[in-house]
Symmetry: C2
Amino acid sequence: MVTYGSIVTDDDLVFKALADPTRRFLLDLLFQRDGRTLKELESGLEMTRFGVMKHLKILEDADLVVTRRSGREKLHFLNPVPIRLIHDRWIDKYREREVSALLALKTELEKD
Amino acid sequence: MVTYGSIVTDDDLVFKALADPTRRFLLDLLFQRDGRTLKELESGLEMTRFGVMKHLKILEDADLVVTRRSGREKLHFLNPVPIRLIHDRWIDKYREREVSALLALKTELEKD
DNA sequence: ACCATAGGTGACCAATTAGTCACCTGTCAA
DNA sequence: TTGACAGGTGACTAATTGGTCACCTATGGT
């Protein structure tokens, strides 16, 4: 594997975090409604608390999820900034128009 | 590991493809300039041809890269659609304004 | 004070993935 | 038509990652 001198960049954390379906589902849950606790998130998944906790830590390290403590609870919030930066990396103004038109057409065609 | 019945969804291919730094670098190269051959892409990487080929296949399977044959060469093009769909999954109109404002502020602050 | 509850750590095993190599196919030009 | 060149496949190894468990700390209600 190419490690580039074992340097782990910011974007590497983000993309690795997004690579797992469970973590994407956690982001989906937080997209629906923010500020949930581990307990609450855990109840929606067929996995032990430890598994979910590990996934949340990976999302937090990637800054895709930010947290706030409240007593003995820890509240989780979705941070959309890293997602936007992915978009901006490979979609410039030119491609933006291209893609928008394509997706609008797709929506139109699926309207049948 | 959670396999969800070993179902591999479209978005899984995309996110897995983006999880590797070499593949992201390949997308960067194609973002700069489209229509490159394997030979050309290979020359920019410290890896055997086989490694690069495997990465390109993964990108192609994920539809992040589309190709066109031309004689004995195969030309590679960046497809921005899957990237845009990632954005749309976790950024709605509300967050859109939020994020734009935040990134504009960041740019402003870094202008020193 | 006590105990139930929410969250946290390090070690461990199983499954997946990155990279290389020997070997093969199709195309072009002399 | 033959040799060099562009691309392709399947098998293999080493490293990484996902999930669980035994065990631990901190907070809040009664």
